[in-house]
Symmetry: C2
DNA sequence: AGTTACGTTGACGTGCGCGTAAAGGTGAAC
DNA sequence: GTTCACCTTTACGCGCACGTCAACGTAACT
């Protein structure tokens, strides 16, 4: 069994001096380990225009700028932005002109996302209400059917619930 | 221009007497109109085993049982159950045996779905917190940059945010 | 006969964020 | 020289719930 004897990533090691930290470069696996994403994801992000690493031969070389962008991507994902949303915001920054317009566009996106999430929260709350009603209904049914022997008259649960549904009486929240 | 002169759906009209309401049948468009779903959806539900309409020739004939099941399907969807979940619950009912086991299985699914939605709510709340932090940060930046002419030294918003990110100071919630 | 209003069965497309082979290249270590 | 350990590109797969043609049949009304 071979132990990993100070293996140095090929691309990360061909610089003998450690630059002033601002020009550091990263291999794909370095970044994927640091941020706990798969290399596949990073390649995907590049494909979608979120990252644009240089190449050393055929190997990707990520700059600290890429690293910063990746941070932005990941925190964007965490709050529910789509990769498209994120790319749009990132693209704005890269244009580099009209500071305030860029910030305000991003500001707007944030507000919109807040709206979206608030809406989703409302929908979830609605669903939870219904589910609780369903649970109550099921508990009652389980109680009335009682803990006795099953099969009392071949009335199927489906029929019972279907009738309840049809007549609009405290029907269960769902199937 | 032809006005719709009491158009009667072909399959719904070839019965001269209106049956005791329990044996009524429905065409695909009748059901789709009543519940505001597309015919395509109903065919899809059949394909997935959620409905099983009879045929008159090649035309689907939905029974009141199908209608009841459709109700269950739609209310299931509303609370976030997948069609697979719904099918499983429906299948249990159709087995027709062991009342309590069926009800308890459905009960369990409900509880699980409640858990899932509660979890999603937490995640949304987390995201909202971050987004609000981001909004605050953006507002501050917009304020400090001030309402003057833009472009003060070619520092791009990206650089500003990236620096904030890198140094962990009240960084924005995302891109 | 023509038009209208329905119905049918395939079968591929969509959006999202990657996963998962397939098939190979490169350089360092043993 | 062979085996790691890592890298590459190409490209299809997936889960979900249908949408969207295509190409056609049928019944009813004008």
């Amino acid at each position: 069994m071979r132990v990993k004897v100070n293996y140095i990533a090929p691309m990360a090691s061909d610089r003998s001096t450690i630059p002033p930290e601002k020009q550091r470069t990263y291999t794909i696996s370095e970044l994927s380990r640091e941020f706990d994403v798969t290399p596949r994801a990073l390649r995907f992000y590049e494909d979608k225009g979120l990252l644009s690493p240089d190449r050393n031969g055929q190997n990707r070389v990520f700059s600290s700028r890429d690293r910063a962008r990746l941070k932005l991507v990941l925190s964007g994902r965490k709050v529910g932005f789509s990769l498209n949303d994120i790319r749009e915001m990132l693209d704005l920054y890269d244009l580099g002109d009209n500071q305030r317009a860029q910030l305000r566009a991003t500001y707007k996106k944030h507000k919109q996302q807040i709206e979206i999430l608030n809406q989703q929260r409302l929908e979830i709350d609605e669903a939870l209400k219904e589910l609780h009603r369903g649970v109550d209904w099921l508990e009652k049914k389980l109680a009335t059917i009682g803990p006795g022997k099953d099969e009392l008259g071949t009335i199927s649960a489906y029929d019972a619930i279907a009738r309840a549904q049809l007549e609009g009486e405290n029907e269960p929240s769902s199937a």
